[in-house]
């Protein structure tokens, strides 16, 4: 891979902005669609329903159940979200729907547990970011003068923020248009992406560090993370439905991590380092 990443730097930054702007806009306008992991509530997946959606809604109303949404998934299978449903209400509701209905999934999370989980998730993301920033500071501490460890560190953090925002923004859009929800697995993917983002940046910066004085037109040989992208694509294409969005989040984050390391962090660093001379 021969990349003249200084000559086309504005193009690379532009591509990043093109992805980031709609995502950030969506984040501000629509926010994230949180799952019951964080909000509390009940998710019921039932198949083999013969009656139309309006009947389901009527039935829920008749039984005084707070049905917040109905989402058809596969043929005759629906995802129903309730504010809170206990097992007796669930049994009564299902038997009223017809004796052939099959419950595929029943998940119920109390509001307290949801709130705790949300708090813990936020804390985990903050802690991970802090830990990673400290780690960056540590791993770039011995950069020989005249290069500044700060510039390396800040460029790496910029790349990290880029990757986190790409994933968050895209999932905000997915949430708005495809009802994709942010659950505990998404937070896991986000944390993993944060880890990998630095992983990539470290690999790329290691090369930049060696080549800085002469690198303006140097070919850039590393195929960072290509193997990861291959295996994740296999998982996306052949893996199960249940973790599909988890894999999508990982894949988007890792592609973004590779891109931002090579096309954002490295040119940013080179630009910055060369400016002072």
């Amino acid at each position: 891979m021969h990349v003249n990443f200084i000559k086309y730097k504005w193009l690379y930054f532009g591509i990043s902005l093109l992805v980031l702007i709609p995502g950030v806009f969506s984040l501000i306008k629509y926010g994230l669609r949180l799952s019951i992991d964080f909000t509390g509530g009940t998710l019921l997946e039932i198949s083999n329903i013969q009656s139309p959606i309006s009947n389901i809604q009527d039935l829920a109303k008749k039984q005084d159940l707070e049905l917040s949404s109905i989402q058809p998934s596969q043929d005759n299978t629906y995802l129903l979200r309730f504010k809170q449903l206990d097992k007796d209400q669930n049994e009564k509701f299902k038997s009223a729907l017809g004796k052939d209905v099959v419950e595929k999934r029943f998940e119920s999370v109390g509001p307290v547990v949801g709130a705790e989980m949300a708090k813990k998730a936020l804390l985990a993301v903050i802690l991970a970011s802090l830990a990673i920033i400290l780690y960056i500071a540590w791993s770039f501490r011995q950069i020989p003068r005249p290069y500044s460890p700060w510039k390396f560190g800040i460029s790496a953090v910029v790349a990290l923020l880029h990757d986190a925002l790409v994933v968050l923004g895209l999932f905000s859009l997915f949430g708005h248009f495809y009802q994709v929800e942010i659950d505990a697995l998404f937070v896991t993917a986000l944390l993993t992406v944060i880890g990998f983002s630095v992983h990539d940046t470290i690999v790329v910066f290691d090369r930049v560090r060696e080549n800085l004085p002469k690198m303006y037109n140097k070919p850039f040989p590393e195929i960072v993370d290509f193997s990861l992208i291959l295996t994740l694509t296999a998982l996306l294409l052949f893996g199960g439905e249940t973790i599909r969005w988890f894999v999508v989040a990982l894949l988007v984050g890792i592609v973004s991590g590779t891109y931002s390391s090579i096309f954002n962090a490295a040119p940013l660093l080179v630009l910055w380092e060369s400016r002072k001379k």
């Binding site: 419950e103 985990a124 780690y135 291959l230 052949f238 199960g240 973790i243």
Partner: protein
């Protein structure tokens, strides 16, 4: 020489650990543990309402409830149930995971019942079955607390179980003991006989001691059973996740296909790009998979759907390090170094970035483990194990193989 021995030993161990149990020279259950999302089942979190108890008794009450739930769940025939207590702030929680269970509602109503502790007396001289005992109106409600004591018995240091009754209970107990000296007084938990000590004397102060040749463990077990009745705490479900078994089977199949496809693609990718070197890296990858599977079984790590994703991801990471190294070698060769030197320099130069980059992933794996439960933790564990094993295979194993070929 040393690295050959280490590598061969590790490979041999990994192979042995992966053999089916009948071919293994030793026995230990090394079957893969499947998480709830793969085996199907139910995950329940209960909130224990300890508000009626003083602070000092709460932990004992929760532990008693946990043991009691365990006993009831075992009667359902669930294999390897998980019943844990956790404390969140000042709240006590009970986490119950039942794999492969079909009648979830039956399990829930069984778990939700509070324990019934009852003292029963007998008129029969030598009672032979539970039917020989009759209720006498003294129940768990009259018992305040049971404790293990080491200085209340006849022999110093011998554990005894002390019972402390409420004032109401003390009156009843004094009355009962005065009528039944020399006779057994049985204690039943959920209609099952726990113990039947003989009444030695009239006890009027509400403080009784059950002596017997208890080992400390037996005494502790008895105390927990008694406290289940003495400190009954209402529990209610605050989280429930039912996972259908069919979904799990489907998921396993799909994940296996995905892993196989990913593996083949990676194998081809390495051979196409790096030729013989790539093939050696592929061999190292086989070693990686062997060691990884052996460790998963040995530790053991419960395999979840996200965990399999972590494994597939780690296959990519395992060759990622090789790619970095091989690219370094190409560069060294381009600068005109002899082949042998290029091999060594490739490993040497790439090592810092391989190490640093993997460390960042390990940090996040640790945080994910802290943050998550169940499936999420499975992911963090497989990722962390994958990173550590891949360091060994992609560096040590590949380097040894390369030296073997290129040294001559």
């Amino acid at each position: 020489m040393r690295s050959y021995i280490i590598i061969l030993t590790v490979i041999l161990l990994a192979v042995v650990l992966n053999l089916p149990s009948q071919y293994r020279p030793f026995y230990r259950d090394l079957s893969l543990k499947l998480g709830l999302d793969l085996s199907g089942g139910v995950h329940l979190v209960y909130q224990a309402d300890t508000s009626a108890l003083p602070d000092s008794d709460r932990a004992a009450a929760v532990e008693a409830t946990r043991t009691n739930i365990e006993r009831r769940v075992n009667s359902l025939g669930v294999s390897e149930p998980i019943i844990q207590t956790s404390k969140v702030g000042s709240d006590y929680r009970l986490i119950v995971e039942l794999a492969g269970i079909t009648d979830i509602n039956q399990a829930i109503s069984l778990i939700g019942q509070t324990a019934q502790l009852e003292f029963r007396a007998t008129q029969v001289a030598t009672p032979s079955s539970a039917a020989d005992f009759t209720s006498i109106g003294l129940t768990g409600r009259d018992l305040r607390l049971a404790q293990v004591q080491f200085n209340g018995g006849k022999i110093a240091g011998q554990p005894v179980v002390s019972l402390e009754f409420s004032s109401e209970g003390a009156k009843k107990f004094a009355d009962i003991t005065s009528k039944s000296i020399g006779q057994p007084l049985a204690i039943f938990l959920d209609d099952r006989l726990v113990t039947a000590p003989t009444v030695q004397s009239v006890i009027s102060d509400g403080r009784a001691v059950i002596s017997g040749n208890f080992t400390p463990d037996e005494a502790k077990k008895l105390v927990i059973q008694l406290n289940a009745g003495a400190l009954p705490i209402p529990i209610h479900i605050i989280e429930q996740r039912n996972i259908g078994a069919t979904l799990g089977v489907e998921s396993i199949h799909k994940s296996l296909v995905a892993a196989a496809v990913g593996l083949v693609v990676i194998w081809l990718f390495m051979i196409v790009n790096y030729g013989l070197k790539g093939f050696l890296a592929d061999l190292a990858l086989v070693v990686y998979i062997l060691i990884f599977l052996a460790l998963i079984k040995l530790i053991p790590i419960t395999l979840t759907l996200a965990g399999i994703a972590g494994f597939i991801l780690s296959i990519g990471m395992a060759v990622d390090a090789n790619i970095l190294i091989f690219e370094r070698m190409k560069e060294e060769l381009r600068w005109g170094r002899p082949l042998k030197a290029a091999v060594e320099l490739g490993f040497h130069r790439a090592w810092t970035s391989v190490r640093d980059s993997n460390a960042s992933s390990l940090i996040t794996a640790g945080l994910i483990f802290w943050f998550g439960t169940g499936s999420v933790r499975g992911f963090a564990l497989t990722l962390a194990v994958g990173i550590l094993v891949s360091l060994f295979t992609s560096i040590t194993v590949t380097r040894t193989l390369l030296r073997l070929i290129y040294a001559r």
